[in-house]
C-alpha cells in the first residue's frame, strides 16, 4: 500500500492543482491576518471558509482523481497487489496531499505572524485538525461515489450533490424542523442532528472553542453544556473519526467486489 501511496502522492504533488490549492490558502492566510490584524478574528473568518470549501475541494479532487486514475488502477489490478491496498493507497495519496496543502498554506502565514507567541495556538490547531478530518471524510465519500458509479457524469453529480446536501440543504432542513417543532423541547434533537453532519459538527466544535457561543443565545448554552465539556469534545472527535472510518470501510468492502 505504501508504494501506491507514494506514486499517487508524487503524482499529485507534481500537479499544478495542488500548488493552486496551497497558494490559495497561503494568500488567504496572509490577507486575513493583515486585514484583521488579530489572530483570533482571522481564525473565525477562516473557519467560515474552511467549513464549506475544504469539503468541496475534497469532493471534487477525490472524484476527479478517482476517474482520472482509472488506467493506473487497471494496470495495478493485474499486478500482485492487494485490491484494498490499491484503493487505500490512492485515497490516502489524495487526502494526504490536500491536507498538506491546507496545513502548510495556512500554517506558514500564521507562523510568520507570530502564532506561537499568541494564545490562539490551540484554536488554530483545532481548525487545522477539523480541516484535515473534513478533507479525509469528503475524499472518502467521493471515492465511494466513484466506485459505485461507472458513469463519470453521474458519479461527479452525486458527489457534488452529497456535498451540497451536507453543506447547505441539511442546515436548511434542520432550521425548518426547529421552526416547525418549536413547541417541543428540541435540545436533544439539535445536538443529535448536529453530530450527524460532519460539517455542522466541525463548525460547532470550533465556535465553542473560540468562546463566542454566547452569540448563539439559548441554543448556544445547550451546545455549550454538551460540546463544551471534555466529554462532549471527545464525543465530537469520536463522531468525526466514525465519519472518516465508515466511508473508508465501505471503500474497502466495495472495491473487493467490483469487476474491472
Amino acid at each position: 500500500m505504501l508504494k501506491i501511496l507514494k506514486y499517487s502522492f508524487y503524482d499529485l504533488v507534481r500537479s499544478r492543482w495542488s500548488y493552486a490549492y496551497f497558494l490559495f490558502y497561503l494568500g488567504l492566510g496572509f490577507v486575513l491576518l493583515f486585514l484583521n490584524n488579530d489572530v483570533s478574528k482571522a481564525i473565525i473568518t477562516l473557519m467560515n471558509v474552511i467549513i464549506v470549501l475544504v469539503p468541496l475541494i475534497g469532493t471534487i479532487f477525490g472524484i476527479m482523481y478517482y476517474y482520472n486514475s482509472k488506467e493506473f488502477t487497471e494496470l495495478l489490478l493485474a499486478q500482485p497487489i492487494k485490491r484494498s491496498s490499491i484503493f487505500l493507497g490512492q485515497y490516502l495519496g489524495v487526502a494526504g496531499s490536500l491536507t498538506l496543502s491546507l496545513v502548510f498554506g495556512l500554517g506558514i502565514p500564521f507562523l510568520l505572524y507570530g502564532l506561537l507567541r499568541s494564545d490562539a495556538i490551540f484554536d488554530f490547531s483545532l481548525l487545522l485538525v477539523t480541516g484535515a478530518f473534513l478533507t479525509f471524510i469528503f475524499t472518502a465519500l467521493s471515492f465511494n461515489m466513484g466506485l459505485s458509479n461507472e458513469n463519470k457524469i453521474k458519479g461527479f453529480g452525486y458527489a457534488v450533490l452529497l456535498w451540497l446536501f451536507l453543506a447547505v440543504i441539511y442546515d436548511g432542513l434542520f432550521l425548518m424542523s426547529l421552526i416547525v417543532f418549536e413547541e417541543y423541547p428540541l435540545d436533544t434533537f439539535s445536538i443529535v442532528a448536529t453530530t450527524l453532519n460532519p460539517i455542522d459538527l466541525s463548525r460547532i466544535l470550533i465556535l465553542l472553542k473560540l468562546d463566542i457561543s454566547a452569540l448563539l443565545g439559548y441554543t448556544g448554552a445547550v451546545f455549550k453544556t454538551f460540546f463544551g465539556t471534555q466529554q462532549g469534545f471527545f464525543i465530537s472527535i469520536f463522531m468525526l473519526i466514525l465519519w472518516t472510518v465508515l466511508p473508508i470501510w465501505r471503500l474497502i468492502v466495495k472495491s473487493k467486489k467490483k469487476d474491472f
Partner: protein, 234 residues
C-alpha cells in the same frame, strides 16, 4: 496449471460465462478463440482476479485464487487495450512496475528488440497505438513468470514487430511456460498455438489441437474452420 470449475458470471442481465469448465496443463501455447462477446476477456480477467465470478472456482497450481493476490506474482498479463497513465514517461512506467513487482527483470533486451530507446523519455499520452502496444509487450515479458496471458497481443503492431513478438512467444514456450493468448488473427494463431479453446456464448464449444479442429469442421485452413464453427451455431 489452471483448473476452472463451473465458472459463472453475469453483468446485469447479460450472462457472459455459463458454468464453464476448463483445465489447462503446464507448458505450451493455448489460444482462446471465439466471436466478439463470447466471454474471452471475462475469462481471462477472472483468472487474473480483476473480475469476480458469481459462482465457480478457479485454481492455479492447485490453489484457489479467491480473494488471493500473491498468485499474480506468477502471472504476466498483456491487457487488450493498452491504457496507461498518460502523464508518466515510458521510463518511469517501467521503473514503477519493476518497483511494484520487486523481481529481476530484463527490460533492456526487450527495449532494444522493439526499438523503444528513442521513446523512453516521452510521455505515454504522446505515443502512437503501436508504440504503446510495444511498451505493453516489454512490460509483460520483462519478468520471468511461469504463466503468461496475452489478450490480443498483435493489435497495432507492424510486420517487423509481429515477427519479433512471435519469436519472443516461442522462446518463452521453450522455457516451459504456459501461455494463454487470444486473437482474431487466425494466421497468427495457426503459427503459434499448440491447442485451441473455442468459446461460444459463455461456454467451451471446442477444445483440441489445430489438426483436430480441421478434422472436425472438414476444412483445410484455420480461418475457415473457425468461421464454420461460428456460423454453424449462429
Amino acid at each position: 496449471m489452471i483448473q476452472i470449475e463451473n465458472l459463472y458470471k453475469k453483468f446485469g442481465k447479460n450472462e457472459v460465462l455459463k458454468n464453464l469448465n476448463l483445465s489447462i496443463g503446464a507448458g505450451g501455447i493455448i489460444a482462446i478463440l471465439g466471436p466478439n462477446g463470447s466471454g474471452k476477456t471475462t475469462l481471462i480477467k477472472s483468472i487474473l482476479g480483476m473480475v469476480v465470478p458469481n459462482k465457480g472456482t478457479i485454481a492455479i497450481s492447485g490453489v484457489s485464487i479467491k480473494n488471493q493476490w500473491k498468485y499474480r506474482r506468477e502471472i504476466e498479463y498483456l491487457p487488450q487495450i493498452a491504457n496507461f497513465p498518460g502523464n508518466l514517461k515510458v521510463k518511469e512506467l517501467i521503473r514503477m512496475i519493476k518497483d511494484l513487482r520487486e523481481r529481476p527483470s530484463e527490460e533492456e533486451v526487450l527495449i532494444s528488440l522493439f526499438g523503444l530507446k528513442p521513446f523512453l523519455d516521452k510521455r505515454l499520452s504522446t505515443l502512437s497505438g503501436g508504440t504503446k502496444q510495444k511498451v505493453n509487450i516489454v512490460l509483460t515479458f520483462m519478468f520471468d513468470s511461469p504463466l503468461i496471458i496475452l489478450d490480443e497481443p498483435t493489435t497495432g503492431l507492424d510486420p517487423a514487430a509481429l515477427i519479433r513478438l512471435k519469436k519472443l512467444i516461442q522462446n518463452e514456450k521453450e522455457k516451459g511456460k504456459t501461455i494463454l493468448v487470444t486473437s482474431h488473427i487466425m494466421q497468427f494463431v495457426e503459427e503459434v498455438a499448440d491447442e485451441i479453446v473455442y468459446l461460444l456464448e459463455g461456454n467451451i464449444y471446442f477444445k483440441g489441437s489445430i489438426h483436430d479442429l480441421k478434422l472436425k469442421t472438414d476444412q483445410t485452413d484455420v480461418e475457415r474452420a473457425i468461421a464454420t464453427l461460428t456460423t454453424a451455431n449462429a
